[in-house]
Symmetry: C2
Amino acid sequence: MEHHQTVTTVSKSMPDRAMLGVRQVLSRGETLYTEDDFAGDWFIVLSGVLRTCRYLPDGHRQVTGFFFPEDVFGLEAPTRRTSAEAVTEVVLMRYDRAFLDGDEEVSLPSLGHARHLLLGALDAAEGRIELLGLRSACERVAGFLLRMDSLMDADGYIFLPMGRADIADYLALTVETVSRTLSLLARRKLLSFRGPQRVLLVSRSQLEELAGGRPWSSPATIVQQNIAYTAQRDGPGHLRTNHYISH
Amino acid sequence: MEHHQTVTTVSKSMPDRAMLGVRQVLSRGETLYTEDDFAGDWFIVLSGVLRTCRYLPDGHRQVTGFFFPEDVFGLEAPTRRTSAEAVTEVVLMRYDRAFLDGDEEVSLPSLGHARHLLLGALDAAEGRIELLGLRSACERVAGFLLRMDSLMDADGYIFLPMGRADIADYLALTVETVSRTLSLLARRKLLSFRGPQRVLLVSRSQLEELAGGRPWSSPATIVQQNIAYTAQRDGPGHLRTNHYISH
DNA sequence: CGGTCTGTTGATACGTGTCAAATCACGTGG
DNA sequence: CCACGTGATTTGACACGTATCAACAGACCG
């Protein structure tokens, strides 16, 4: 996965506006910048996973995004909307803001023009909006897992680099609800866990249904198919009570 | 408000890549494009209000954005992620996608370069993410109202062009919950209504508190100030029961 | 082997969804 | 200008889903 060798050791030797960045490494949990900092640079993840967060006055934390290799972040205007923290060890490229504000067209190594890059960031943000717009914990958790598909290993298992708390704060749920929902989906055999971090999506199609599925077209022909917690029997002992009860 | 005279009647006479758009008018409720359509153009709102929606397989509708004058939308990749529908009568400018994809730098009338425009759209999307990341109905409704500040009249009242259903589908709530929450905030005298569409933000500071407030800094010094429905007495008869009970 | 941290499970309170009905806003026609 | 009809909004009663508080289990580390 460590292909940053091709992109890294650029910069500084060229004095001109040749659009080159600086490579930077963060260790687990390290904070790159904080809310309200001056937003001088923007970044591209080369390896590892990073999260952006807000800390609300009531003490709650909001995770506004996870960023994986090739993802761009930190593009916001004069000050930071969020802080940026390393979920795992992270290697990233730092670019000067002037390269976006300036008049010259920017060409980035292996990522094309600045416009292309911005469109990608916008697309990712809209994906997050769709995810957060889902109503139930089940929908959001299923949607979340489907978006982590790119983290799949050779054996088909997804490795979740972030903890339950990160997921919860990302989906506007509690740790307990995330954990319960994952357990439930596993009991329903839509998922299979190998430790808390490694998960196999057994039935993508059913997960997509839960998550509001592949888009749909017009407001007609409504196929009522509301799969609630209580609407199906479990594996063996068809325990379809509320409160996640199982055993 | 109708300043589109300066921007409108351009286009077509100039054959070259002079970056000019076509003016277009939508009437209330009209659909501009639909999910999965080919995304050939993008748009800027000149007047009126527009919404983008997804229709989920379970019949629910998700409103992923409201767009006001000067807002940009429809920038997504080869096909539409959402449909676009006019909330009020809308006047907009339509631009060809090639102006974004092309190599030449684009300069738009009164909006600067394409990059600037994309950064604006990204900023708006991130604002929506922060809003949807709030947990309770109270927080989201308060946050929503604060973001509608720009719709303020001369008398200080905000005119809400969209119905309760639009707000509900935007905040991932039900119509009833939105209505109840607005009523509650009005009883608490943070709001004052003059008909369902016209609302005055009586206490912005308290609304900001509810909405997760102006950002905050670090994960320390937590000022526990969780204003729940039941945590305060109402105007006269301190009825702090649950279920929104009041009278 | 006893710390702490993360994740899971349980019991219960409470917030929000659902279904139903009343009320209000507003356009139409008398 | 007012009566009426229709749709939007508000309110009520109740069920259900999620938050909360608490306890337990497992992983990692000293």
